[in-house]
């Protein structure tokens, strides 16, 4: 949807080091990206703190930059992380502090906040944690 007011609270929270996600007040479903209604029950939702823990869904190491802003950064890692309690929600993110060749699907992650690759935003990033895979 071409109205950036839907996503704005997420960005403000992230700037303060808080991960919030659209959470339904009626059925509790967490959805992503934000929609006018809860897609599970059409209830109203609000931004609620999400679990700092997540699971690594997948990742890639980008070698070819498709925009001039990214050209100085290759190769770099981008990943999808599924926060606990939010099945099917996949945050685009990166994993820091670990070499890409040590990653595996299903690894447990903990959220942190950092300047992103492009230096244009302060957003969630993840670190691998030593925790049994649930």
């Amino acid at each position: 949807m071409s109205d950036d007011r839907l996503i704005a609270p997420y960005l403000s929270a992230a700037a303060e080091g808080l991960l919030v996600l659209p959470t339904c007040g009626r059925c509790g479903t967490v959805h992503w990206y934000p929609l006018p209604l809860c897609p599970a029950c059409q209830g109203t939702w609000s931004w609620q703190p999400a679990s700092p823990r997540a699971t690594l869904v997948t990742w890639t190491v980008v070698h070819h930059a498709f925009s001039p802003e990214l050209a100085g950064h290759v190769p770099y890692l981008v990943a999808l992380a599924e926060p606990d309690g939010a099945p099917g929600v996949h945050l685009v993110t990166t994993v820091i502090g670990t070499d890409a060749n040590r990653l595996s699907v299903g690894m447990r992650l903990a959220v942190d906040f950092a300047e992103t690759l492009t230096g244009t935003a302060h957003l969630p990033v993840y670190r691998v944690i030593d925790e049994p895979v649930g």
Partner: protein, 399 residues
């Protein structure tokens, strides 16, 4: 038997412009040429066209219906519509044309589509900045351009199907190398330089595990179809018509901004299953009866994700349907093998967003695919993705 089931929707005419990296002529010239060729192929006069259907994302600005109407003198047009987005949108336009013909509200429908993304190459990536959410929380991480999306799907797919990424790459390589060989048999193909297995692995990595040859081309080109009732088809004098036997269209339930990353099924494509089931059901055809498939291959992995949903194998086992490479370096389709992307696909023929898959299916069914003609091609399927929707078309010979 009711009246509806007695009427068939026949693809009486097809037309293609030349497909190329940069056409060097304006898009309208390509689309005009494709429509002219389709009308000539169908042996219909423009005044006979009573319905026009096209795609809704690109065509309203690239080649709107009123331009087709006024240029060709489509004075008999009594209905028209802009339908769906990109590849599945073209299929939805054909599905709608077929429904109109079968319902008797049209006798002769024109469907057209093309794209100029070879010349307007940045247009491919507009998708990522068009949506505020994507722009705000994807682009800052460098999550930009389609290879990134599909590389992530590929890695997850390997995990979900219980194989290593290297094992997956072995299948992706066979797809890329095999389709290049097929493009070399196609007189309207853009990329015909030979590709070997060694060449595939030597390619530069774009977004791991996808290499350059896993990624589709970008192209300029246009196609058109004339969909008619039986009498118009008979008047054309042709006796090898392709019939649109079934058409299915299904949605993912996700928005355009979320459909390539989100959802509990990720990266599987349940909408592809729903559209295939609908199309095959309407055609009265079982997946095992199909002679060939043309599958939307924006990336090699995209082909596997959709083939998984065709019902020809259990989900996750489509890699076993990808033919081994024969002595000539092309796909070995002898025996029970299932020919896929006989024209070279988006990877090696051209990136006409899957509209070229539809023209190829019609050519194969007619027996007019030139050096790429399959020996058995009476029944074919086209699967078009991949976005917030999916479409499947089934074509067979007229009786």
């Amino acid at each position: 038997m009711n009246a509806r089931s007695q009427r068939a929707a026949i693809i009486t005419g097809i037309g293609e412009s030349a497909f190329s990296r940069r056409a060097g002529v304006p898009f309208y010239a390509l689309q005009t040429e494709a429509i002219q060729r389709a009308l000539v192929d169908a042996k219909v006069m423009p005044g006979q066209v009573d319905a026009v259907f096209t795609e809704s994302a690109l065509m309203p600005s690239l080649y709107p219906v009123d331009v087709a109407e006024a240029s060709f003198g489509l004075t008999g047009m009594r209905q028209h519509g802009y339908l769906g987005s990109v590849g599945p949108g073209v299929a939805l336009a054909l599905k709608t044309a077929g429904q109109a013909v079968r319902a008797g509200t049209a006798e002769c429908a024109l469907v057209y589509f093309g794209c100029n993304w070879g010349t307007a190459s940045g247009a491919t990536y507009d998708f990522h900045t068009k949506y505020p959410s994507k722009f705000a929380v994807e682009v800052p991480y460098g999550f930009y351009a389609q290879p990134t999306y599909f590389a992530m799907m590929a890695r997850r797919y390997a995990h979900d199907t219980g194989i290593s990424v290297d094992q997956l790459s072995e299948t992706l390589c066979r797809i890329a190398v095999g389709q290049r060989k097929r493009a070399r048999l196609n007189d309207n193909a853009q990329k015909t330089r030979d590709l070997t297995v060694a060449g595939y692995y030597a390619d530069r990595m774009i977004s791991d595990p996808l290499r350059a040859s896993d990624c589709c081309l970008i192209s300029d080109g246009a196609v058109a179809f004339v969909v008619t009732a039986e009498q118009v088809a008979r008047d054309s004098g042709r006796d090898n018509h392709a019939v649109l036997l079934g058409a299915g269209y299904a949605r993912t339930g996700l928005t355009e901004e979320s459909c390539l990353t989100q959802g509990a099924a990720y990266p599987a494509m349940p909408a592809a299953r729903a559209s295939a089931t609908a199309a095959l059901g309407e055609a009265g055809v079982s997946p095992g009866e199909l002679d060939f498939a043309e599958i939307y291959d924006c990336f090699t992995i995209s082909l596997l994700l959709q083939l998984d949903q065709l019902g020809r194998c259990p989900p996750g086992e489509s890699r076993y349907l990808v033919a081994p490479l024969g002595e000539d370096g092309g796909p070995d389709w002898n025996g029970d093998a299932f020919p896929v992307n006989t024209h070279g696909g988006l990877l090696s023929q051209a990136y006409i967003l899957g509209a070229n898959h539809i023209t190829e299916a019609v050519k194969q069914v007619r027996g007019e695919a030139g050096r790429g003609q399959l020996p058995r091609s009476g029944l074919g399927v086209v699967q078009l993705a991949p976005s917030a929707d999916h479409a499947t078309l089934v074509f067979g010979r007229s009786r």
